[in-house]
């Protein structure tokens, strides 16, 4: 059943009526620049294509079909209305370079979203050009660099990053031309303030923080951290991956962050799409405004909306995309914020926290070990299965794979790296108590099975389209593209 679309190909078969029927001449192009043999794309009928990809889709777990408690990813329901409204013909057919008079409807949505997110984050300005969280991070770090240099402060070469941070944080800092200094976490999941004090100094450009952190707890001494880093001349960067936990209650601007990104595909429920597109909002305090990436949407005194570009922002870090970021994703985020509104956005964090804490408490009551049992969970919680691994030889990965047989997507495994055998579980506010209870029940059953039949758990999953895959072989003998028989490529040749 894992037949490739290429295997369905028959010479001369076509999905008719989708492209011009006849071949027009391109004889005026110089022969030397022409392709000598056609690309081996599949030759299939329209039904072949529809059936093949419909069947492929059925091999996926997704929010629409399964509970998907993937920690740090905020896999909440993606409202269908947001998709429908973002795909209205007038929005889809707008050329990015069309004069703004033809795009006032689109710009109105984007401008309102900028304003709503300013209010939600407490930042001075929010723009929407980054195409994903990591690009927002890069832009934020590039702005830090510009800010310090604009003050003649070129000696700030280090970005501080807690050891629990997302991998994108250190990678973005490096892309931004900085060195990374890791800050350890204390036993209760807060940043080790002593270590931070020792690290902060004249070389500090800034610190990147996720709050609540990836450990599923709120950083309680955030005010002290802000005072410490600002006092040393550094800036605070807020990684908004976990904003869902505090939406409408605590604003990064009020925590005195200077720069932030929000992942619109997390908190604002735009689709994850099997890995993207993402989209990010980038917010700054007033002192960083001159450096914002372009373009963003501004309003003229006459009320008209238009792009703010390089001419008005000579100190901008520049462009991040060819046009205006992932515009269609912004429309979906706009629809979501309007559907929820002021009260609904605040309710998100209440029920996200309720679900996470309820799940944590029930798992603990069922005998699972929480990584931070004395802490209030944020919108996610961490279970460590080190005891199960030690006593039954069944690891977090085995639990994760066995959950698939229970019809539930696995939580995030082995992240954050400092918690052994961990599952990072984020139920989100859109799941019901029944679903959470079923998850606890599945975890208990798997643990029982780990006692009675550990081999069954270690070899899971059993019911998915494929069983455990040979990752070592995938990396050692990379097969990265289909090739027609007789034209195989030799890796490393």
């Amino acid at each position: 059943m894992s037949e490739l679309i290429f295997n369905r190909s028959r010479p001369g078969r076509r999905a008719g009526g989708l492209a011009p029927d006849s071949e027009e001449s391109a004889a005026d192009l110089p022969a030397s620049c022409l392709r000598k043999s056609p690309p081996l794309l599949p030759e299939v009928s329209e039904l072949d294509v529809v059936r093949h990809y419909t069947r492929l889709s059925q091999k996926n777990f997704s929010i629409d079909t399964h509970f998907y408690p993937l920690g740090s990813c905020t896999m909440k329901y993606n409202p269908r209305a947001a998709n429908r409204l973002a795909m209205l013909e007038g929005f889809l057919s707008g050329h990015p370079l069309a004069p703004v008079r033809f795009k006032q409807g689109f710009l109105e949505c984007v401008f309102e979203l900028q304003e709503i997110l300013q209010s939600v984050t407490g930042m001075s300005t929010v723009v929407l050009s980054p195409m994903a969280g990591a690009q927002g991070e890069f832009a934020g770090i590039a702005m830090m660099r510009r800010y310090h240099r604009s003050r003649g402060d070129a000696g700030r070469t280090e970005i501080l990053v807690p050891d629990a941070a997302h991998g994108t944080n250190p990678a973005s800092a490096i892309m931004g031309g900085f060195k990374v200094r890791e800050i350890p976490t204390d036993r209760e999941g807060d940043v080790d303030l002593g270590a931070l004090k020792a690290a902060v100094g004249p070389a500090t450009a800034g610190i990147m923080l996720t709050n609540p952190s990836t450990l599923g707890v709120f950083e309680r001494r955030i005010t002290d951290i802000a005072t410490l880093v600002h006092g040393a001349g550094g800036l605070l960067y807020y990684d908004g991956a976990n904003l869902n936990a505090i939406l409408g209650r605590v604003r990064p601007g009020d925590m005195r962050f200077d720069i932030l990104h929000l992942n619109l595909h997390k908190t604002f429920s735009t689709p994850h799409g099997g890995g993207g597109p993402g989209a990010a909002a980038l917010g700054v305090s007033a002192r960083l405004e001159p450096f914002l990436p372009i373009p963003f949407v501004g309003r003229d005194p006459t009320g008209g909306l238009r792009w703010i570009g390089e001419a008005e922002r000579p100190d901008s870090i520049g462009r991040l995309s060819a046009f205006m970021g992932n515009a269609g994703v912004l429309l979906r985020a706009y629809a979501y914020t309007r559907l929820l509104g002021r009260e609904g956005l605040r309710r998100v964090s209440a029920f996200a926290a309720l679900n996470a804490n309820y799940l944590a408490r029930r798992l603990e009551a069922a005998g699972f070990e929480l990584a931070f049992p004395r802490r209030r969970a944020s919108h996610e919680c961490i279970v460590t299965l080190r005891r199960e691994a030690r006593e039954y030889g069944v690891t977090a990965m085995d639990f994760a794979k066995r959950l698939l047989d229970h019809g539930m997507h696995a939580p995030t495994t082995y992240f954050p790296m400092l918690i052994p055998e961990c599952l990072l579980i984020e139920p989100t506010e859109t799941e019901s108590r029944d679903t959470l209870d079923a998850f606890v029940e599945a975890m208990v059953q798997i643990r029982n099975e780990a006692v009675t039949d550990p081999g069954r758990v270690r070899a899971a999953p059993w019911t998915t389209p494929v069983r455990r895959l040979d990752d070592v072989r995938a990396a050692r003998e990379p097969d990265l593209a289909w090739r027609p028989p007789g034209r195989e490529l030799a890796p490393g040749a």
Partner: protein
């Protein structure tokens, strides 16, 4: 409560399990001074789906687009209905990154098929699972080429032609600036519109390492001598990045066959493959390379392997390049790919096949040729780079300023093209036109007639504002 399923008794019971009396108590670890009681009134009240539909439909209607002869990096091609019908199936739309391979075989196999198609189109050996867009793909390709060239020791320069999309050049500058990688602009020959050999030949001769970006077609739609330049650059030890249009690759020699070795990296904008114009995104950047370069490639890659029963299956692989494993030592900070757009591109290429894609490319070329013939038949209108072959875009100039003409055309509901005002042109001004397979003969005739009237009305006019045309 939109999208929250809890009934009041359930909420009560769950709080009871936690020993809490209110939802507010869930936030008791957060310093009270940091908490707000509600969002400011600048955040509007929630509205129902019906009401929001009215608001957004009205706005979308207002944006009803004019007749489009504008390309410049975003192209209006026909998209078969099956493409987005399948893309928006919940199983693709609401899935995430396929880290749990067994639960994501649909997405993984699809990406493997996408990679295979991009390998075929570009004539190279390995593709990643996509990057954000064409511009960011070019920036990542430049960084990758620098790593391949061994920038730690040699600090190579990136030779970036002026005849690359201005926004792409801007993104490359944004991304390369923090790492202090020098960029030199390769000028274009003002007569032919192609890379200026009088500048580039001596410059290559003086270099021992570096990166040359070769656009095909270039921003003016013109066909460059990519084979000769690839040979010349690689002979000097430079790495070659081919920046290509995927539709054009149905007709043009793929980067993997440029010169005797082929380009080292190919990249570009995948939007023409089934993504709507959509005000600029989401689109998808693509990138392919040779096997021997794969460990420096950024982004996700899917590989085919076997499962515990020996059946074929797909999984993310070579992840030691990526940020979630390598953190500060990763090839890039990129985490996502443009999954849904990869799905669209794969469906589009499957539906069109090799013949359909070639027909689209040839028809776009033919429509642009007809458009250029029609417009250059008007007095004072001529090609900027006469005699140089083009694909589906062409630069024109007239005896009146391009911004004025484009504005007047827009008044008549025609997007006449891209104003080349950002380029230093000996003719003073010019604009870039594009006609894909979507444009019809009557539409081309309408452009010609409208431009003719605009030109007439503009004679003797100061050109400070658009004329009134009856």
């Amino acid at each position: 409560m939109p999208f929250i399923p809890h009934t009041p008794p359930e909420t009560e019971a769950m709080l009871g399990t936690l020993g809490l009396s209110s939802l507010e108590a869930l936030f008791d670890e957060i310093p009270a001074a940091l908490q707000i009681e509600s969002l400011p009134e600048s955040v509007p009240e929630g509205v129902g789906e019906l009401a929001l539909g009215r608001i957004m439909r009205e706005r979308a209607r207002r944006d009803d687009p004019p007749l489009c002869f504008l390309g410049a990096g975003a192209y209006e091609h026909f998209i078969p209905a099956a493409v987005w019908d399948i893309v928006t199936r919940g199983e693709f739309y609401s899935a995430y990154t396929p880290y749990q391979a067994e639960a994501s075989q649909g997405t993984l196999q699809l990406i493997y098929e996408f990679q295979s198609m991009m390998v075929e189109l570009t004539g190279l050996e390995v593709s990643n699972a996509s990057l954000y867009d064409g511009a960011s793909a070019l920036a990542e390709a430049c960084l990758m080429a620098c790593r391949l060239a061994g920038w730690d020791t040699d600090s190579p320069v990136v030779l970036l032609p002026e005849a690359v999309h201005p926004a792409y050049r801007a993104v490359v500058r944004t991304v390369l600036a923090p790492q202090s990688i020098p960029i030199e602009t390769v000028p274009f020959d003002r007569r032919t519109g192609l890379l200026d050999a009088r500048w580039l030949e001596p410059r290559l001769a003086a270099l021992k390492a570096g990166v040359l970006v070769l656009p095909q077609p270039n921003f003016f739609g013109l066909i460059e001598s990519v084979t000769e330049w690839t040979e010349a650059a690689q002979a000097r030890g430079l790495r070659v990045v081919g920046l290509v249009n995927p539709t054009a690759l149905a007709l043009l020699e793929p980067p993997g066959r440029w010169g005797s070795r082929g380009a080292d990296i190919a990249c570009g904008e995948g939007q023409p493959l089934g993504a709507p114009l959509s005000s600029g995104g989401p689109y998808l950047g693509f990138m392919t390379t040779r096997f021997d370069c794969v460990r420096q490639m950024p982004g996700r890659i899917v590989g085919r392997t076997v499962d515990a029963d020996g059946r074929p299956g797909y999984t993310l692989t070579l992840q030691a390049r990526e940020q979630h494993i390598r953190r500060a030592r990763a090839t890039s900070n990129i985490c996502t790919n443009q999954g849904l757009l990869v799905t669209a591109a794969t469906l589009y290429l499957s539906l069109l096949g090799p013949t359909g894609l070639r027909h689209v490319a040839a028809a776009s070329h033919a429509r642009t040729r007809e458009l250029v013939e029609a417009l250059t038949g008007l007095p004072g209108v001529r090609r900027l780079f006469d005699g140089t072959p083009f694909f589906h875009e062409c630069a024109l100039t007239a005896d009146q300023p391009a911004p004025y003409l484009l504005e007047a055309l827009a008044d008549q509901g025609i997007l006449g093209g891209y104003d080349l005002g950002g380029f230093d042109l000996p003719q003073g001004s010019g604009w870039l036109v594009c006609a894909t397979e979507m444009r019809t003969a009557p539409e081309i005739a309408r452009y010609r007639e409208t431009l003719e009237r605009v030109l007439k009305a503009g004679r003797g006019h100061s050109h400070r504002s658009a004329p009134v045309i009856s």
